[in-house]
Assembly symmetry: C4
Homo-oligomer: 297 residues x 4
C-alpha cells in the first residue's frame, strides 16, 4: 500500500470543494472541523469518532429487549443527547463553508442528515405500536458508521481498488449466478416441493447457501440423485477456491526453484552457477558471461 | 485478460462459419442479427438480452406457488409471448444464413431450439396433474440463459482458460474423491447406520459436505472417535485452502523484503544497485564490489 | 508441473527394484504387467483400472441396505469374481519378478494383498450377525483405490511436494491446534455442559467445526458472551483465508502497476518513460540510459 | 522462511536478559534449563515438552464426565504430580538466573506461575459445588501450552510477521465489522424478532455466522426478501475469498504466457532475448531490433 503521507487527505480534497472561508470565526471553525493540522482539529476528529461509536452502541443496546425493558428511558435520553450533538456538528459544517448547498448534497452531507433525522421523526411516530418503524429508525442511525470512512485514506483506496476491478468482478458474479440458476432449477426438478424445494427462487437460495459453503441445513436434499448433484455443487463452490490456490502455489514454487538454480548459466572462468538472467559479468570472479537464452521451466 | 478489441468477436467468428449472404434482404437481416457494428445490430442485441432475462424471470415467478395461484394465466400468456418472439428470432437466423443446417446443429442453434420447444410440448402435456413434467419444462426454458454467453468474449476466454487447466483440475478432483471415498468409508465403519451413516455412498455424501466446509448438520458424528476423525477431515478441507495461501504469502513477503535489502549495495564504478548479498563483482560492469553484511529484516 | 515425459515412470522405477526377468514366459508376463510400452501392457493397465473402479462400485452398492436386500446374492458373486481376478493378478506379479519377496513387502504389494484377503476372511465370519465385521471388510476392500496411484506420475509428484513442505504444514497445524485448545477451553468455561459443551474435548470439536467454517449446528453457543467469542473465532478461521489472499492481491496489483510505469526512469534523448530497471539503452531511440536506482514502492 | 541456523535462538536471547550466572552449581543448572547446546540441555527440553503435553491431556480427560466419574482420583493425583514437577522447574529457573525478578515478571515467567497456582488454589475451593471454579482452573492450566512456543523460532517469526501486517489486518477487520453492522441491522429490520433476529447484536452474530460461511442454521431468514439479502451476504463472504484468488491466478497465468512470447525476439548484435513487444532498440547493447508482431497466446 502506498505511503499515506504521499496522498493528500481525502477529507481535505473534499473539503476544498465546499469552499474554505477567508477569515474570521468561520475560518477558525473550518480549520477545526474540516482540517486535521491543528491540535484542536485533531481533538475534534477524535471526539467525533468516539461519539459515533458510542451512539451506535446505544442503538445496538436499545435493540436488545432485556436492556430496553430495564433502561429504556436512559437509552432515549442518550439517543437525544447524541442527536443534538450531531445536529450541532451538522449546523456548524453548514455554517463554516462558503457553499453549504454543495455540502448538504454530497455523500457525507446526506449521511450526516440521515444520522439525525430519524430521532426527530420518532417524535411523530408512537413507538409503542409501530415496532417496524422503530427498527427502521435504528437502521438509519446505524449509517453514522459511514462518517468514519472520512477519517482514513485506506478506505478510499480500497474503494478505488474495487472500482478498478469492477468489470472482472461483474463477469465472475454473473457466471456464479448462472450456475446458481441452472443448478438450482435442476435440484427443483429432482427434489421437488416435498423436499423443501418449493419454487425455483427457493432452490436458487439453497444453491447459494450450498455453493458458498455456508450450509445452514434448513433445506437439504432428500433423494440420492439430489445428494449427488449437491455434492457436485459443493465441490464446485469449494473448488473455485482450492484449485486456483493450488495452481498459484505450484507456479510460485516452481518459479522459486527455477530462480535459485538457473543451472544452464555457468561462468566459463570460475564455473560458478546461479547468475541472474540479465547479468553480464560473473558475480564471483568478474569475468564476462556469455549471453543468456531464456528457457521456460 | 487480453484487450477485447484485439480479439475478433467470437460471435463474428462463429457467424462466419454459417455463411454470410451476398446481398439483399437476407444480408440486411444478417447484419442486424449476427453482427453488432450497426446501430440496429446493437439495439437487436440489447433487446434479445432483455427478452432472455425477462423470460427467465417469468419462469422463476411461475414456479412460486403463491404467484402461480394468483397470476397463473398472466404467466402463461407472457410465456407464450416470449416463445413466439424467440421462435421468430430462430426462424430469422435460419433464413438469413447460407448454411442453415450448420447453425441448427451448432451449440447455440440447439440452445435456441431447446428454448422454444418446451412451451410447444406443453400443449400435449396436461399441466394440472403432471407436476414433474411442468418442473422439467421450466428447467429447459431456463437454459435460455446460455444464449447470453454469445454476447461477451470474456465468457469464451474463461471457458478456454478452464480447458487449458483441464488436466490439473482432474488430477486434483480425483485426489479429493479418493479422500472422500476412504474417509467416508472409515466413518461408515466407525459410526454405523444408527448414527445416520446408513451406507457408504451416504457416508461419502457426508464426507463431501464436511470437507468442503459446507456442514449442513443433517448427519453428524455421534461417537468420540467419529468426532476426532471428522475434525481431521475438516482441518484437511479447510487446510487445503489455508496452507497454500499461507505459503504463497510467506514467499511473496520474503521476496519483497529480500529485494529491499540489496538497495544499500551500490557498485562504486557504474552505480548500479540490486546486487545479490553474496555477489563479489558487479553484474553490470564487472568491477569489484565492497563486502556486504547480511542484516535480517 | 514438470513435463511428465522428462520423468521416468514411477511404475518402471519401482518395477526395476523387484527384478526384471531375463527371458521366456516370465519376461513376457513382466512386460505386460509392470511395463506400459507395448499394446498388451497398455491394455492390461486399462483393464486393471476398470476392474478396480468396478469392484469399488460393488462395495459401495453392497453397503446400501435397499440394494443389499434385493441383490445381495449378485453382489456376493461379483465380489468373489473380482477377488479371484485380483488374486490371479497378485500371483502373476509374484511369479514374474525375480525378487517376489521385495514385491510382497512393498507398499503396493501390501495394498494388493489387503485387497483380496478380506473376502477370504469373510468365509470365516458369519455376516448375518456381525455387522461391524462386514463394515470393516468393506473398508479394507476400498483400499484397492490406492492401486490407482501407481498409474499416474502426478500423484507421486503431489506426494513429494507435500513432503517438501512438511515442516511448514506441521508448524501451521500446531498453531491451529493450540488455538482450538485455548479457545475451546474458554468456550467450555463460558458456556458449560448445559449448553452442550459437556467436556473440553467436545468443546475442542466444536471449535474445529467453527474455525474451519463447517458449522454443523449440532452445538451452538447459547450465551451472549459465548456468541461474541464464537464470532471472533469465526472471523479468525475465515480471516486466515481472506487476509493473506487480500495481501497477495494487493502486492501483485501494485507490482503490476509498478512494472508498467517506473516513471522515474526517463531517456534523456527522446524523453520516453517506462524502461526496465536493468535496461542500459533506451528501447525507443537506442540512446544510453543513465544508471537506475531501485526505489521500493 | 530464513534459515533458523542464521538466527540466534529466541530462547537464548531472552535468557541472556535474565542474567547467566558465572560459575558453579547455578551455572550448571542454567545450561541445562535455559540452553540447549549440551546433551543434558536437550534432554531437559524434551522432557519438559512431554510433561506439558501429558499434563494438558490430564486436564482434557478430567473434563470428560465419564472419565471423571471412573478415574477422578487418578486424575487428581496425576494433576498434583505435574503441579509439583512444574513447581520444581519454576523454582529451579528462579534460583539459577541472576535477576530472578526479571524472569518472574516476563511473559514466560507469568505463564509458568499461572500453570501451577490453580492447583494450589483448588485446595481452598470445595470442588463438589463450585463447577465453574473447576472449569476456570482447568482453563488456566491449559495455558501451559504457551510454554511450548519457547522451543521453536518459527512461532516467534510468525508472531513478528503478524505484527508487521498489523495495520492492514486492522483495516480489513474494520471493513468486515462495518459490513456486519450494516447488513445485520438491515436483516433485523427485514426479518424481525419473530424470525429469531431478536436484537441488532443477535442479528450481527447471525451476519458473522453467514459471511464467514460457517452457517450453523440456528437462525435462518424466513422471508423472501431476507433470503435474498442473505444470499447477497453469502456471495460477499465467499467472494472475498474467490475473487482475489481468481484475479491472482489470471495475473500469474497471463504473466507466464507473456514471458514465453518474447523469447522469439532476439537482438541480432548481442543475442540477448527478452525484449518487450514494443521495444525498438536492444536494452543491452543499443542496436536496432527487427519489428515484432504481437501474437496472443
Amino acid at each position: 500500500m502506498p505511503r499515506t503521507s504521499a496522498i493528500p487527505s481525502t477529507l481535505k480534497k473534499k473539503a476544498k470543494e465546499f469552499g474554505k472561508p477567508q477569515s474570521g470565526f468561520r475560518l477558525h471553525l473550518y480549520t477545526i472541523i474540516f482540517e486535521a493540522d491543528t491540535k484542536a482539529g485533531k481533538r475534534f476528529d477524535v471526539a467525533i469518532v468516539i461519539a459515533i461509536l458510542l451512539s451506535i452502541s446505544v442503538v445496538l443496546a436499545g435493540s436488545v429487549p432485556q436492556i430496553d425493558a430495564r433502561h429504556g428511558r436512559t437509552m432515549d435520553i442518550l439517543e437525544w443527547g447524541f442527536t443534538l450533538l450531531f445536529t450541532a456538528e451538522y449546523i456548524a459544517r453548514l455554517v463554516c463553508v462558503r457553499h453549504p448547498l454543495r455540502y448538504a448534497t454530497s455523500f457525507f452531507g446526506i449521511i450526516d442528515l440521515l444520522s439525525i433525522l430519524p430521532t426527530y421523526f420518532s417524535l411523530f411516530v408512537p413507538e409503542a405500536g409501530a415496532l417496524l418503524d422503530v427498527r427502521i429508525l435504528r437502521l438509519l442511525r446505524i449509517f453514522r458508521i459511514f462518517k468514519l470512512t472520512l477519517y482514513l485514506d485506506e478506505y478510499m483506496m480500497l474503494g478505488e481498488a474495487l472500482r478498478a476491478s469492477g468489470r472482472k468482478i461483474l463477469i465472475f458474479l454473473s457466471v456464479v449466478l448462472m450456475a446458481v440458476l441452472i443448478l438450482g432449477t435442476i435440484m427443483y426438478v429432482v427434489e421437488g416441493p416435498k423436499s423443501g424445494f418449493t419454487s425455483i427462487p427457493i432452490a436458487m437460495y439453497w444453491a447459494v447457501v450450498t455453493m458458498t459453503t455456508v450450509g445452514y441445513g434448513d433445506i437439504v436434499p432428500q433423494t440420492g440423485v439430489g445428494k449427488a448433484i449437491a455434492s457436485f455443487m459443493m465441490l464446485l463452490g469449494w473448488g473455485v477456491l482450492a484449485v486456483p490456490t493450488g495452481i498459484v502455489t505450484a507456479e510460485m514454487t516452481s518459479q522459486r526453484m527455477g530462480r535459485r538454480a538457473p543451472t544452464t548459466r555457468t561462468c566459463p572462468e570460475c564455473l560458478t552457477e546461479g547468475h541472474e538472467a540479465t547479468a553480464r559479468f560473473c558475480k564471483n570472479c568478474g569475468a564476462e558471461l556469455p549471453p543468456y537464452r531464456y528457457e521456460p521451466v
